[in-house]
Symmetry: C2
Subunit: 192 residues, 2 copies
Amino acid sequence: MLYDGFTTMDALGPAEALSRVREGKQKCYEIEYFSVAGGLAGSSTGAKIWTRKLDEMVKFDVLLVPGGFAVRKFAYEGEFIAILGELARRHDHVIAVCTGSVLLAKTGLLDGMEATSNKLSWQWATSEALNVRWIRAARWCVSGKFYTSSGVSAGIDAALGFIADMYGPAEAQRIARAMEYVWGSDKNAELF
Amino acid sequence: MLYDGFTTMDALGPAEALSRVREGKQKCYEIEYFSVAGGLAGSSTGAKIWTRKLDEMVKFDVLLVPGGFAVRKFAYEGEFIAILGELARRHDHVIAVCTGSVLLAKTGLLDGMEATSNKLSWQWATSEALNVRWIRAARWCVSGKFYTSSGVSAGIDAALGFIADMYGPAEAQRIARAMEYVWGSDKNAELF
């Protein structure tokens, strides 16, 4: 789920990992890009990604929620948070990257659960949702169906962690190798 | 420079790093996306990026050339390679990621120079340009104005290497930290 002002790699790093999951020769995920209004969603790097309108969104296996500078606006927009909450409830798995976890926390769905977020925005992020059990020393957290990650690149680690949980660690390692990505596979590591 | 069938992170990982370079409070790079025909360029993850038509491209500071499965088509298209060669000659700096280095090699501009490429496509990549001094044990190579990187994520390391060379290692480290990215800062490291 994209919006104007998302961080490019928060969304597209995990997408790169998820797009490579296979069972035998079969790709497991087709990735589609949505935004509330549809059309082009602008990102931190100036890349504009074409999105479908959110009301065309049926149920997918995984909902990915990136962070970005615009989180500091959308976190206070009730309608946006309501839409996100409805989407998150409907999906079997949710991965929120960086300050995307603040958006997810605002829905109330993380109340009482462990979650993490961007370490450079830690004070702000954690003060925005006091009922979440924020874990600073985590690269990513798993709380039931909700995966939340630390900043930007940690989203790739969390996506690989999700892949390991669903398809086994060998598949996650295969994908990390194909991406020539040094996977921080310990979700409890405090790297930054 | 994008094209249908580029690898998402090859382009957008380095873009994420470059977009964050600052001198004081001033951003150093505005990133724009181009393709030969303009319009939407589709990538490995299904993300379609809006691009300007290449003939609107004046000179930028850095030309970024991603790899992707479509390289195995474009590497043999003379017109595409001629356009790329003209662009690469015009720019002060060129960063080619993954099999993007094969496209760049096909222009002849890397002849006699050290370069590297994706390790999983190594045999194919190196057999396509026999006058290049291909270096297997490299995360990235610097040959004059040409930076070439190993696969996918190595593009981020190369971009941070470029930033370190231009703006100093402290700026590269600051950006790696902001991206919570564990930078493989040794370009001669053979990680995969």
